[in-house]
Symmetry: C2
Subunit: 342 residues, 2 copies
Amino acid sequence: MLRAPREIHLETVPDPRIEKSTDAVVRVVASCICGSDLWPYRGIQDVREPRRIGHEFVGIVEETGSDVGTVRVGDFVVAPFAISDGTCINCRNGVHTSCLHGGWWGSPDGGSADAGQGEALRVPLADGTLVALPDQPDAALVPSLLALSDVMGTGHHAALAAGVRPGSTVVVVGDGAVGLCGVLAARRLGAERIIAMSRHKPRQELARAFGATDILEERGEEGAARVRELYDGIGADAVLECVGTSESMGQALASARPGGMVGYVGVPNGAELPIGQLFGNNVGVRGGVAPVRAYIPELLPDVLSGAIDPGLVFDLELPLDRVADGYRAMDSREAIKVLLRP
Amino acid sequence: MLRAPREIHLETVPDPRIEKSTDAVVRVVASCICGSDLWPYRGIQDVREPRRIGHEFVGIVEETGSDVGTVRVGDFVVAPFAISDGTCINCRNGVHTSCLHGGWWGSPDGGSADAGQGEALRVPLADGTLVALPDQPDAALVPSLLALSDVMGTGHHAALAAGVRPGSTVVVVGDGAVGLCGVLAARRLGAERIIAMSRHKPRQELARAFGATDILEERGEEGAARVRELYDGIGADAVLECVGTSESMGQALASARPGGMVGYVGVPNGAELPIGQLFGNNVGVRGGVAPVRAYIPELLPDVLSGAIDPGLVFDLELPLDRVADGYRAMDSREAIKVLLRP
């Protein structure tokens, strides 16, 4: 429960139960803290009343409503960070985050609002929302499966939006968990060269492990000049913007070549899109709230086979009763991403 | 010569000649007036000194410099609205409007600046810039060939940037020559339904002839609501923005479905890109100064075969000495687009 900015505690709440026929109850195996959880934690987003929090988890189905068909009791499931029915026109278009009947963890849906940083929770629209694994996974895979809840799918969305394809030259702006997963996604899609912009040694190392071919510590115009130097004097085919600030978007736009694309998934927090600059250079921008539900079926086999290991972004694991320590570590950037075990 | 806002005249200037070994001299068969020519004409763009004007023409090569190889004396050529070498990295990427050595008609390039609304002109970087036809074309094809200089390629750029493909639902904002060519380009790329937003009967008719399946006269939120009504309640897969104002871009963004794309080619004149709206709906934007040189090889066969007839956008043809009447007709929107014959 987040009671006020920087006041987060493990508290006892009533056990979740089926409230609608399309619900499931899931016992959480692992959940994690998202960069966006820090907004209410920091008070940037209002905390008007105590709220449950967390939108990334994996777990075991404990109970299903009478209309649930595709997930069964005992299934190991991955939950994406948004609730979706999987059947509306936007879901069919692969834009599950714009589901006509969906919603967000911890937001009212006519039943009790529940969220992922806990021991168990009520999952609305279980058939559309959850992805069940064919078998119980090896315990060692849990972090990488959990990464499919958000950061890996979000990095993949940035890479797709930026049009990464075999042979692309890529720049990734942002060395948080999403940016690092963006590096991994770009490599997976066949990028030939990937520049990760990072000044933090451990993050640089992880970026290299994920497939970055170059690391740049320079920022601003100097950073953009270095990008051009490395990429034929013109910049990158594809830039992944994974922060959302004015500086990071400026860096991203300045790093794209004429005709290039910026895929952006950093929630806009000061970022702007200067149309004159975009128009003059034919630089496109595409992105938004990543429909990670759409990508789990594609990415899951690569996690199960070990081809990708996005779970490496979790550099701190804590028991749920130390959730406050987890938020502090994320807030101070001591940890890239914190995994919580009930 | 444009001497001052609204002062345009046919004047005698020195005959063009080869100044660089990569030049050609071209005798103009037909040229035309562009919407963007109206900016200096209206005084929105400064006219500091008398200047030659015009950047869309077709003609016959009269003379070539010693380093010109792909176009020959006597060739019928189409000239795109920008000068490009065809060999630099940006040209090889298909972004000829960002050519590292290119330029603009009527702008200094170290030789005398020349432009298309005249009897003959000096063409810099002739090999990269001009596209020669295999044979002399039928006179009836001249307007459609001339449309490849700008408006047809620009409409095609908008359609490509918006990701139009077979089966797409499309909206075209703007019923000028570019918007109408955008309709034609979208149909050519296989769009299933195309809404043209127009309130002008003759333009509506041409839009229908070019492949529009629906015409909308409503604007603003009412227009966007009608688009959603026609397209599954959510909006269009692909929107072509062919105006550049705040209103037209707002209309375009409001007409795209979640996950849709707006291809924009209207030179920004008040248009803005509200990142929060784009991000929330995963609506992408891509576009800019169209690299029409890149598209002539693809579009030319369809013009020569009669599969597309973009020349229908010319609804007024005048001799060059009535150029002032042509500008007046464009300025008052009496004419969609004016063709000038020397």
